[in-house]
């Protein structure tokens, strides 16, 4: 949200690098990387910037944003759509991003079962009545494993020359450290959480007593919930309005897994087949020319290709590929021995299942067939005939 930016414009006289709002997001990101939550919600997600950063965290499978203002979310929400690249190389994890319009003072079953809920610079925008309901909704109802709440530390304000009352006109209050901690400890005690306090934006030297510019409470639920969260009957009704939903392509989806497997299988077998043919050709060439040229010096990853063990090692002669006439027979067992294929498929059966119908297989289905006629074929001479296009 703009105001977050503006706040930082304000604090520029004290100068935080990187800007404080970025530090806050970075703080969350570090927590995510540490705790690996699968379901994360950002309450008061505003322009979705934090969500955008979090979508790159590979542990997260469900990312939800909630804000009272639909317009503010809509402004940048297109950044949360999957990118073209996500379709080319689907991720291994599944990811769904959802945005809801609604209030943190209302309970909606959409918000149940989260591992982490973040409320960055949110509570100070709440009216008294909303703030009263907040602990009950977030701690009591949503009851995620971890809650992060950040809010301005009013003790720091004297160091911000342009701030008269609050840092932003929409702020309903700004708390001192004691006020925030009291509120936080109270909520934690009531809903069975532990809380630790920290902050961002250290005060300038000599002013250490005012504390961090932003104060943060990290709440951790004391007990582990087993299984699905029990849905309270009366809150089955959805009060939030879903304004955005994006399901990312993922290898969990069989369609994309199949594409990825077939892609890898075809690539690997083409590579192996090419090598077989090269061997045959170079034998012929050596006989004809009597000389062999050394490959030139090359400093990069490509040299490894020459001795890629997964492609050349013959553990078991029965699974070695061979050429018969124009066709290279590539035993599936051989293909399955390639680490990447194995990793994608898990089992040999999955491999068979996924590639059946997508590639040419031998009659008994044990080997992949590669037609080498295509490889050998010379291209038509495009110079002889008019390339005119009517």
């Amino acid at each position: 949200m703009d105001e977050k930016l503006r706040k930082d414009e304000l604090t520029r006289t004290v100068k935080f690098t990187p800007p404080l709002y970025k530090q806050r997001y970075q703080f969350i990101k570090q927590l995510v990387n540490k705790h690996k939550p699968k379901k994360v919600a950002d309450l008061g997600c505003a322009d979705c910037r934090l969500l955008w950063m979090l979508k790159f965290c590979n542990c997260i499978e469900m990312l939800v944003g909630l804000d009272i203002s639909e317009d503010v979310m809509k402004e940048k929400m297109h950044m949360l759509y999957p990118l073209p690249g996500d379709f080319l190389q689907p991720s291994e994890r599944s990811l769904t991003v959802i945005l809801h319009q609604g209030s943190v003072a209302q309970k909606d079953p959409h918000m149940l079962g989260f591992d982490m809920v973040t409320c960055i610079e949110l509570i100070e925008h709440l009216e008294i009545k909303e703030l009263e309901k907040f602990p009950e909704v977030v701690f009591g109802f949503m009851s995620p494993a971890m809650i992060i709440i950040s809010t301005p530390n009013s003790e720091f304000n004297p160091l911000l020359p342009t701030v008269t009352l609050f840092r932003h006109p929409d702020h309903k209050f700004e708390w001192s450290r004691a006020q925030f901690q009291n509120w936080a400890l109270d909520a934690a005690a009531r809903y069975d959480y532990t809380v630790e306090f920290t902050g961002l934006g250290a005060p300038p030297p000599g002013k250490d007593d005012v504390g961090f510019c932003t104060q943060i409470g990290v709440f951790v639920r004391k007990y582990l919930k087993n299984g699905e969260p029990e849905t309270v009957e009366e809150y089955k009704e959805h009060v939030y309005k879903t304004i955005f939903k994006a399901v990312y392509p993922s290898l969990k989806d069989e369609k994309y897994l199949q594409t990825a497997v077939v892609n890898e299988v075809v690539r690997t077998s083409q590579t192996i087949a090419r090598r077989l043919l090269d061997k045959r050709k170079s034998k012929y060439k050596k006989v004809r020319d009597g000389v062999e040229t050394d490959p030139p010096f090359l400093t990069s990853c490509f040299l490894k290709d020459v001795e890629d063990p997964s492609l050349t090692k013959a553990d078991n002669p029965h699974i070695e590929p061979f050429i018969n006439g124009q066709t290279v027979y590539m035993p599936l067992a051989k293909i399955f021995s390639v680490p990447k294929v194995k990793q994608l498929c898990g089992t040999f059966e999955t491999l068979s299942k996924l590639i059946t119908g997508k590639v040419a297989l031998s009659n008994d289905g044990s080997a992949l067939l590669i037609d080498t006629e295509y490889e050998n074929e010379e291209l038509e001479n495009e110079h002889l005939f008019p390339s005119s296009k009517p």
Partner: protein
């Protein structure tokens, strides 16, 4: 008929199902149109000649009398009433004129353009940020207007409620389902006062030929608002920061409403505010109170040019709402991708859509396109290259990658690969905006959660275009990209040469008109069904018509092809292979002394070829004596070069060099051509032994084509068409751009030097980047005029230029700068002031034309011309499909006349152009562009791609480059 036919013509021919023409099926058509339907059935070929409905060509300003062509009558009235607008620079698609040599497929395959990088990232809320480029213009207009600021207001009151929006809808012959409304005379009072000076309507409609019902891939946009209001917003004290200005305006949503388009100073709203509104804001940084003054500057017609840019922003948002993925400036649907595993390609269906203003009003131009993307990362691709050619791996990578467009895995950007840095790896560091150093590995890990797997890969270099930098100024910054995280887009060059791949690809990409229409309907339907999408448009009062635009076109009269002793009218398909291989061509150069080079192992093919050539030379009327045989011991380049050199230096009278080569060998081909076109000029013909062996049954037709081509190369003439214009010179021009940026581009220039347009003079000029093309053109033109005089003992009275290789944005430059410069050439000659007509030829356009003569749309017949509704408001222009499209949709060629001092009528222009499309001797049929353009293209391509040098001047009167 054609063994090595370019791939996209391969495959199943598209039947022209005239038999399905049931007139009753479209009873709502006016009577006059029925002629069209009967043509195919009753007068299969005569129809065009006899059934020719002469429409009265109306003199400017007069009103047509013919009541039967009611549509035209209305048109002429409306045209008089039409609002002329100041010329504009079309936005959106500057795609034209990029890359050469792959014309075959490009029109349908989306090629990301550099400019696509700057795609607007406008949010989806109410306001759009109008791009800076149009700002300048907008503001200038605004200020001009500012001198008499509020005239508009008074007028607006009386105009609101007028049917101005409909006027543009009722353009020429548009068969909208809505009944034609006759506007009352008081209607055409412009809402806008921006266009007080009305422009004379352009005379661009011809009448020759047979009217046919057509449809186009454009959708009429109805403007339902009365006006768009333009305001000037001032901040006092001044606020420099643009984003702060946006913020301040947004604070006053209650005043401006949600729907805004604001660029920082010019504001467009669909609602009318008071003449002047004063608002107050507090600047957050220092608490100063800022006065925001919103003053109305203009009331615009909702289809005003000034609105088009933000309408396009709005439409991009609509596409995003439909969950289409933006790549470059187009939108695709990767969830419906087709994967061609064996070629490692994916094809994404999508649309290239933009809103533009044409003669007929506001339209959505929506082309059905496809994006071809490699399945593998660039790194995988490099591994594959390494497999194939270990020896010259780096060269091969450079060759295959440079110039390619990649998309990255982690953001939505496309980049052009300009170089490869073999010395850097992801372990190296670069400097972030904040001055910190970070390694690529860490950068991708921190920001995108991506673990770089291969730490030893080289890096790809992208050098951003020096858009705003003055030429010559040092480039700042290059962007380094990881091959592992990049994907190639487009069809790899190598595959373009592979018949099989292209055939498979074309099946996916070349959709029939019917499929096209389905796809377009689906898009319209999706917009209609999606409330958010269609609200997005409705906010600005825009409503898409529920079907694509149907309009009437004409099929130009068939042409007469003249051979030496015979002449004939072309067949329906416009192909005369039979005739030209059975009868004598106009003039044949006797071939008395020619040398045949062939490697020892191709001796059989050489014998077969020569005996067949001699067998068929008689009927073609070409004298052919046996060649001097030169057998080579192997097929190395040096063997050929040595043998050719020794023959050419010993014998001064060699007319022709023919080489049989084995396999496709670009290097050998290049070496032979360089030798014969540059060093020792002599016409040359290279033949792949394979084409002789693989199709023994087709050897006769192959030999016929070879011999005809040889005849052209020696200066013979194959066929002609009737050219009624006398003392005429036709010029074709095209530019070849080297794929690697910063290299020289090559201008091909071809000019006719006889009255039947069967003899051509050609020149090639290499020019450095940023060098004015005009300097080279002057040289060419003067030389061509001198040659013309030498041949005809007079200078041409009319010069018609077909200029290819010009982008949309350069039209004005061609008109305002190039042509006057060209005319200066005439001063070289005494008392010489010929008339000039200059056409800009645009092949890569997204407009498609379908024949609507049957229930299902089909490919329109060759000769179909459209010269209204979708044409430009600023130029005399027309769309012509000259070629017979066997597959895919009818993509017309767009001709924009930027100069016409010869006062050629639209009919003359269209027919001359069509005639010239018959004149390309490499193809016994019509082609997409006029022959001189195609010749210029071939010449520039050969010189730039193969010769890398200007061809020897001795060859300039021969079509040696065929």
């Amino acid at each position: 008929m054609h063994p090595a036919r370019p791939l996209f013509r391969g495959g199943a021919a598209f039947p022209m199902s005239h038999d399905d023409n049931v007139p009753e099926s479209q009873p709502q058509l006016p009577v006059a149109e029925n002629i069209t339907y009967s043509r195919g059935r009753i007068f299969p070929s005569l129809g065009r000649m006899q059934g020719l409905q002469e429409m009265v060509q109306k003199p400017p300003g007069s009103i047509q009398q013919d009541s039967c062509t009611s549509a035209s009558t209305l048109t002429s009235m409306f045209r008089g009433l039409g609002f002329a607008e100041p010329p504009r620079h079309p936005l959106g698609r500057g795609v034209l004129g990029r890359g050469m040599g792959d014309v075959e497929i490009k029109p349908k395959v989306e090629l990301p353009d550099q400019a696509g990088l700057t795609q607007s990232r406008g949010g989806s809320a109410g306001d759009c940020k109008v791009e800076r480029t149009l700002l300048g213009r907008g503001r200038v207009l605004g200020l001009k207007e500012g001198e008499t600021p509020f005239v508009a207001l008074g007028r607006s009151a009386m105009i609101l409620g007028g049917a101005h929006g409909d006027i543009s809808a009722l353009s020429v012959g548009v068969l909208q389902s809505a009944p034609l409304k006759k506007p009352s005379p008081e209607v055409p009072l412009a809402v806008s006062d921006e266009q007080l000076a009305r422009k004379e309507p352009l005379m661009k409609q011809g009448s020759k030929g047979i009217p046919v019902p057509l449809a186009m891939n454009v959708v009429k946009i109805h403007c339902q608002n009365e006006a768009v209001y333009q305001y000037h917003v001032t901040f006092s004290p001044n606020v420099e920061c643009k984003s702060m200005r946006f913020g301040m305006l947004k604070e006053h949503k209650s005043v401006t409403g949600d729907v805004t388009a604001f660029d920082g100073s010019i504001l467009y709203l669909p609602i009318k505010l008071p003449q002047s509104t004063d608002l107050k804001c507090q600047r957050k940084t220092d608490g100063v109170e800022i006065n925001v003054k919103i003053q109305m500057t203009k009331i615009l017609e909702p289809s005003s040019d000034l609105c088009i840019p933000f309408y396009n922003v709005v439409f991009r948002r609509v596409m995003r709402i439909l969950d289409m993925k933006a790549v470059g400036r187009n939108f695709f649907d990767p969830t419906s991708a087709t994967v061609l595993q064996q070629y490692r390609l994916q094809i994404w269906p999508g649309y290239a859509a933009s809103i533009r203003k044409c003669e007929g009003g506001l339209f959505l131009l929506a082309d059905v396109i496809h994006k071809v993307i490699r399945n593998d990362s660039v790194l995988d691709f490099m591994h594959a290259i390494y497999q194939h050619s270990k020896e010259n791996f780096q060269d091969e990578c450079t060759k295959q990658l440079i110039g390619s467009i990649i998309i990255t895995r982690y953001n939505n950007n496309t980049y052009r690969i300009d170089d490869i840095d073999w010395n850097k790896t992801p372990k190296d560091s670069f400097t972030l905006f904040n001055g910190k150093e970070i390694t690529f590995v860490d950068y991708y890990s921190n920001n995108y959660g991506i673990t770089v797997r291969e730490l030893d890969q080289p890096l790809l270099i992208h050098r951003p275009a020096e858009r705003k930098n003055p030429p010559g100024k040092l480039q700042k910054g290059e962007i380094l990209l990881l091959p592992e995280l990049s994907f190639l887009t487009g069809i790899p060059e190598k595959m373009k040469k592979d018949f099989r791949v292209m055939k498979d690809l074309s099946q996916q990409i070349n959709l029939s008109p019917k499929q096209h229409y389905l796809s377009l309907s689906r898009l319209l339907n999706r917009i209609e069904m999606n409330e958010a999408a269609h609200n997005e448009l409705a906010r600005w009062g825009l409503r898409l018509d529920n079907d694509i635009c149907k309009a009437k076109g004409r099929v130009l009269p068939m042409e007469r092809i003249n051979l030496k002793n015979n002449s004939f009218i072309t067949s329906e398909e416009l192909n005369w292979t039979k005739e030209c291989t059975r009868e004598s061509c106009i003039s044949a150069v006797p071939i008395h002394f020619w040398v045949l080079f062939y490697p020892k192992r191709a001796v059989d093919q050489a014998r077969d070829l020569v005996s067949m050539l001699q067998k068929i030379s008689g009927p073609l009327g070409i004298q052919l004596t046996p060649p001097a045989w030169r057998e080579l011991k192997d097929d190395r380049i040096e063997s050929y070069a040595k043998a050719i050199k020794s023959v050419l230096s010993a014998e001064g009278t060699v007319q022709l060099v023919v080489c049989i080569i084995t396999g496709t060998r670009d290097d050998l081909y290049g070496a032979i051509k360089k030798l014969c076109c540059v060093q020792s000029p002599v016409p040359s013909q290279v033949i792949n032994a394979r084409t002789i062996t693989t199709q023994p049954n087709k050897l006769r037709s192959i030999a016929q084509k070879v011999l005809l081509q040889i005849n052209c190369k020696l200066g013979g003439e194959l066929w002609g068409v009737d050219i009624p214009l006398k003392q005429l010179m036709v010029i074709g021009m095209d530019v070849y751009h080297d794929p690697s940026r910063g290299k020289r581009s090559v201008v091909g220039f071809v000019a006719s030097i006889n009255h039947t347009l069967t003899r051509w003079y050609s020149r090639v000029v290499f020019q450095m980047p940023h060098q004015e093309i005009i300097d080279s053109l002057k040289v060419c033109l003067v030389a061509a005029l001198q040659k013309f005089h030498e041949v005809n003992h007079c200078l041409p009275e009319k010069i018609v230029v077909y200029r290819d290789g010009v982008s949309e944005g350069q039209l004005k430059m061609v008109e305002g700068y190039e042509i006057p410069q060209l005319q200066k050439c005439f001063e070289t000659f005494e008392n010489y002031d010929p008339k000039m007509v200059v056409f800009v030829v645009q092949k890569k356009i997204s407009t498609n034309i379908y024949s609507a003569a049957t229930d299902h749309f089909t490919t329109p017949p060759p000769g179909t011309v459209v010269d209204h509704t979708v044409t430009s408001r600023d130029w005399v222009d027309f769309y012509l499909i000259a070629h017979h499209a066997r597959q895919g949709c009818g993509i017309p060629t767009h001709y924009v006349c930027v100069r016409n001092t010869a006062n050629l009528s639209p009919d003359h222009m269209q027919r001359l152009t069509f005639k010239l499309c018959h004149m390309y001797w490499n193809w016994p049929g019509t082609i997409r562009v006029p022959a001189p353009c195609k010749y210029a293209h071939k010449l520039a391509f050969l010189s730039g791609q193969v010769l890398h040098h200007e061809p020897a001047i001795e060859l300039c009167e021969k079509l040696f480059f065929l």
